[in-house]
């Protein structure tokens, strides 16, 4: 085998090994690298009340209730599993926060199982459309 073929084999083997190592490491990280827990994740993972955590999912259409005081709101977060989480929040939500859209809530669970959010982030989906081409009401299909 000529020297440059040897070097080529070495480089290819090295790249392959590193790629496999990285993929294994990422697989090991998959739970901890998640930015938030979806309602489906909460079936298998119990989060004690009061512990700081992020949950994320879809704001269920029709679930958003704004309190008369103008700064409190509550809504229900769901995903493609039957499980849902009721969330309450006091403050100004981001512009893109709306029903049928993705949301990430930072906060903790109250003892009664309601999630009290200290901060809300709106998740944007992958769809880009001009206003005149939106026929139906906004609905995000994918959770991610």
């Amino acid at each position: 085998m000529r020297a440059k073929n040897q070097r080529m084999t070495l480089v290819l083997l090295g790249m392959g090994a590193m790629l496999i190592a990285a993929l294994l490491a990422m697989w090991g990280l998959r739970d901890r690298a998640a930015l938030f827990l979806s309602p489906g994740d909460l079936r298998t993972r119990s989060v004690p009340a009061g512990q700081a955590v992020r949950i994320g999912g879809m704001v269920r259409p029709g679930s958003l209730v704004r309190a008369p005081d103008g700064v409190s709101l509550s809504f229900v977060v769901g995903d493609d599993t039957p499980r849902t989480v009721p969330v309450s929040f006091r403050g100004v939500p981001p512009d893109l926060f709306r029903e049928g859209s993705g949301v990430i809530a930072e906060g903790s669970f109250a003892p009664d199982g309601r999630f009290v959010a200290a901060e809300l982030l709106a998740k944007h989906d992958e769809n880009y459309k001009p206003p005149d081409k939106v026929a139906a009401a906004h609905r995000t299909e994918t959770l991610r």
């Binding site: 790249m15 690298a33 982030l121 709106a122 769809n127």
Partner: protein
């Protein structure tokens, strides 16, 4: 490809190519960004902030594509010992780092009005920040190696190792729950309406051509330095 490894032959086509790529890229970029700012419609949800995509997506693509090219040049430097490949890798590093930094900055500017935060340590944002640090590490390592007059073999290996981060960046939004949205352009089609997508296509190609021109300019500068040093030595001898 091996014919290009000869610096004289490389220069004979790089010299006329540089202005074509530079002016062509700048013109296409200018036209596309004008279209993106004033002609294309706003998004039904994001409003006007969708226009940030026309600078964010090309810079992110070049930050990642830059490292892919740097890794390919490093591999060819290691396997075939082409000096020109080492020069190409070195010429890509600074523009690649600038593009990655711009992708991070424009992403933060988009995130504030859209998500409600400048920064969040999610998988996509963190792996992209890592790419920026990899560029910085490459530049430092390469400078140190050149100072000692070596072949820059370690930086070439570093370029290959760093390429492992590229699939992580790409798949981060699919593997993990992230704040960043999944890709809009996939093999199954585009989730971006055509009226919004055309300036994006133009600005991506324009930025890429301009990036290629910048890399060629930097390679020509490095070759010029080498010629200067060689002639100086010959004159002294």
């Amino acid at each position: 490809m091996h014919a290009l490894a000869n610096p004289a032959r490389f220069l004979s086509f790089a010299r006329p190519l540089t202005p074509w790529l530079g002016w062509g890229g700048a013109a296409l970029l200018g036209a596309s960004l004008f279209g993106g700012l004033f002609l294309s419609p706003r998004d039904y949800l994001q409003g006007e902030t969708v226009r940030i995509m026309y600078v964010h997506v090309p810079t992110a693509w070049l930050g990642m594509g830059g490292w892919a090219a740097l890794a390919a040049a490093s591999a060819s430097h290691l396997v075939w010992r082409h000096t020109l490949a080492g020069i190409a890798a070195r010429a890509i590093a600074v523009p690649g780092a600038v593009m990655t930094a711009l992708a991070l900055a424009t992403g933060a500017i988009w995130g504030r009005p859209t998500w409600g935060t400048w920064w969040e340590w999610d998988g996509r944002l963190t792996s992209m920040l890592l790419l920026f640090f990899l560029y910085c590490g490459y530049l430092a390592l390469n400078a140190a190696e050149r100072e000692r007059g070596g072949e820059a073999k370690l930086s070439a290996i570093f370029g290959l190792v760093g390429a492992v981060n590229l699939p992580v960046i790409h798949f981060s939004v699919i593997w993990w729950n992230t704040l960043h949205q999944p890709p809009s352009l996939t093999t199954e089609g585009s989730a971006i309406d055509a009226s919004i997508a055309w300036p994006l296509l133009g600005s991506t190609i324009g930025f890429t051509l301009l990036f290629a021109a910048i890399v060629l300019m930097r390679m020509r500068a490095i070759l010029g330095q080498a010629r200067f040093a060689a002639r100086l030595r010959r004159a002294a001898a």
